[in-house]
């Protein structure tokens, strides 16, 4: 069964043709690859493709089938689009509305200040919350016009990475 797999903005069609031990034959779009692929440590893969030795690190991310894949040169976001992914996407949307309505910090830290209140009208670029981590302060801003629907944390609170801090609508 062919799957849709996204790498950054690219969408590829992938189908496994054959698998026996490490040996894999697989189609990515119109190309067919035969490779020797093995997980050597948790999340670390060694791949031999035409005798070239590749080392890839895979980080499985939060919800869904999302990966961060580190190659020799750079890091990619890869997502396997299956039924559950589609379901989660629709759920996420119904929960938070459009993308950009959920304000969060990618890293854990401490809330320094929240210069807005529930009901405030905000403009793109307006600072909504300031979070401090590792002796550095980061400002998180509105990406579009909106109204502050909910503020889920208090000043001085310690927050997790990816935790929803403020909801706009």
């Amino acid at each position: 069964m062919p799957y849709e797999v996204n790498l950054g903005k690219r969408s590829a069609t992938v189908e496994l043709i054959y698998q026996e031990g490490n040996q894999i034959k697989i189609a990515v779009d119109d190309k067919i690859y035969e490779l020797d692929l093995v997980m050597v440590e948790e999340g670390i893969y060694s791949i031999l493709l035409n005798n070239r030795s590749y080392n890839l690190e895979l980080i499985r991310n939060g919800v869904g089938r999302k990966y961060t894949v580190n190659t020799y040169l750079r890091s990619y976001d890869v997502e396997i689009v299956d039924a559950e992914t589609k379901y989660l996407r629709s759920r996420e949307k119904s929960q938070f509305g459009e993308a950009g309505n959920r304000i969060f910090s990618p890293m854990p830290g401490k809330v320094v200040s929240i210069p807005v209140k529930v009901g405030f009208r905000v403009k793109p670029g307006q600072t909504l919350i300031i979070v401090s981590a590792m002796k550095m302060e980061s400002e998180f801003k509105a990406k579009k016009d909106g109204v502050v629907k909910d503020i889920l944390v208090k000043e001085g609170a310690t927050v997790d990475g990816n935790q929803t801090l403020i909801l706009l609508e």
Binding site: I24, Y54, L58, V69, V78, A133
Partner: protein, 502 residues
């Protein structure tokens, strides 16, 4: 002799100090905040005491608590590392009063060098070149304008209590002067509780070159040559090397003499660093003294063959310096890269979090001073330095090549790090040619932050690997019967430890 040392610090420097203690048969005592129970310095120490909540002011900066632990544990001495209380004259004095050896300079040395304007005046008196500028406090706006005109623009306004770029303003046009003075004053007041400012001429194409010094309690002082620290981002050093590619033997000797004189001018005792600003013509000016061990001290250790922490401890117990200036040589070349938990692709946003996996580079010429480990969660309370990768080579070219191969093999997943960014510095033509100033990172921002694309095949391999991982997990889920004994699963996990063939 010292039998037990409390290390009033955390992170890589705490572990590094304890390593030297262990080699000297000195027992080490760790102090830790509640966020640091799993931190390596707690595991590495012989004893460990919790000193309070995560914020530094309630733990690592709390003098009373640290002194209380020192007494309870019966230590002979305290090593402050760098940062935290290392340049706090009150702490040095408190140790003295409590009869605990402070492994560092006297309160007088710290205080004199800590106030930039006092330090500046002391240096002038001792005949050490300082940047042209005021040696008096700027009292009013007339003073400021007059001095700026005398020096010629551009000038730098600095806070006397300053450090780390705070309370500093560069002024190119006279029209901006008054606003800059006001801004510097209010920033200094907010940051240090002291709005004293002064003015210096701005040095074009500045190089940041510092000299390591050692001074014993008997009045002997030596320097251990220079470190080139011009690769900076927002006044924070990123890469350091020694010898400096800019230096020549005559200037090195001259600066070394001045560095030793600067230390002697404040009756310095211990390890310290004299920072100079150097221009393209090798004119050099005293910038400030760091009255403690520097983050980048290992590169000096590599080329001069010395253990600076051991020297600090020997000086603290009153031993005379065993090293002689005339016997010291610089052997080969060393480079240090600071690996930070920051995301270079996202404006260097801090990236604390759980280390999922780590592969450290090994082999000839590699030294690694770190403290994190697989499964360690880097807390967000402290600074983002997670390790220092230090290489040694017979010459600068070999050292750069070695650093490149080491960075290439260095893998940390789970958090973002500056490893790739550092790799690009090693590949930069100006860096390779040794042609750089403190503006290097700003000037080369675009190339240094550029993300190369893999070729299509490499992208496809990334897709395939993620896809196969997904399929494998899927297969496992559907195969694993829900009633299987958990003990068996645990055993299998223990045995296979996440290792599986696909």
């Amino acid at each position: 002799m010292i039998k037990k040392v409390l290390v009033a610090n955390r992170g890589e420097i705490a572990v590094r100090v304890m390593r030297s203690c262990r080699e000297m048969d000195i027992r080490s005592v760790a102090v830790f905040s509640e966020a640091d129970r799993k931190s390596m310095h707690v595991r590495y120490a012989d004893e460990a005491y919790c000193i309070g909540p995560p914020p530094s002011v309630e733990s690592y900066l709390n003098i009373d608590k640290i002194i209380a632990v020192a007494k309870r544990a019966g230590v002979d001495a305290i090593h402050p590392g760098y940062g935290f209380l290392s340049e706090n004259a009150t702490f040095s004095e408190r140790c003295q009063n409590e009869g605990i050896i402070f492994i560092g300079p006297s309160p007088y040395s710290i205080a004199t060098m800590g106030d930039k304007l006092t330090a500046r005046k002391t240096m002038i008196t001792s005949g050490i070149p300082v940047i042209p500028g005021t040696s008096e406090v700027i009292q009013n706006t007339q003073d400021a304008r007059r001095i700026a005109r005398e020096l010629g623009l551009p000038v730098m306004i600095k806070a006397s209590a300053g450090g780390g770029g705070k309370g500093m303003r560069l002024v190119h046009y006279e029209a901006d002067l008054m606003a800059a003075v006001r801004a510097a004053r209010s920033e200094a007041k907010a940051a240090f509780g002291d709005d004293t400012i002064y003015i210096e001429k701005y040095i074009n194409n500045p190089h940041h070159i510092e000299f390591q010094i050692l001074a014993d309690s008997l009045g002997n002082a030596i320097h251990l040559f220079e470190r080139e620290c011009s690769i900076q981002r927002r006044h924070q050093k990123v890469v350091e090397e020694t010898p400096s590619p800019l230096m020549n033997p005559r200037i090195r000797e001259e600066m070394g003499h001045h560095a030793v004189a600067a230390a002697k001018a404040v009756n310095y005792q211990g390890a310290g660093t004299i920072e100079f600003i150097v221009d393209d013509d090798l004119n050099y000016y005293f910038l400030e003294m760091n009255t403690r061990l520097q983050v980048e001290h290992p590169i000096t250790e590599q080329v001069v063959s010395v253990d600076l922490v051991k020297e600090q401890i020997k000086i603290a117990v009153g031993e005379p310096l065993s090293l002689k200036q005339e016997e010291l040589r610089q052997n080969g070349h060393a480079i240090e890269c600071r690996i930070c938990a920051e995301d270079p692709d996202n404006n260097f946003m801090p990236s604390p979090g759980l280390i999922l996996h780590m592969t450290e580079p090994l082999g000839l010429g590699i030294r690694h001073d770190g403290y994190v480990y697989e499964g360690y969660e880097i807390p967000h309370y402290y600074d983002p330095l997670i390790s220092k990768l230090i290489v040694w080579g017979t010459d600068r070219d070999e050292a750069i090549r070695r650093m490149r191969r080491a960075l290439l093999a260095y893998k940390i997943t789970g958090i973002k790090t500056t490893i790739k960014f550092l790799e690009r510095i090693m590949e930069n033509a100006d860096f390779k040619n040794g042609k750089y100033t403190t503006h290097f990172i700003e000037d080369h921002k675009n190339e240094l932050l550029e993300t190369e694309r893999c070729d299509l095949q490499c992208e496809d391999v990334a897709i395939i690997t993620a896809f196969i991982d997904y399929l494998t997990k899927l297969k496992k889920v559907s195969l694993s019967p829900p009633a299987v004994s958990s003990f068996t699963k645990w055993k299998d996990f223990g045995r296979k430890k996440g290792i599986q063939r696909i």
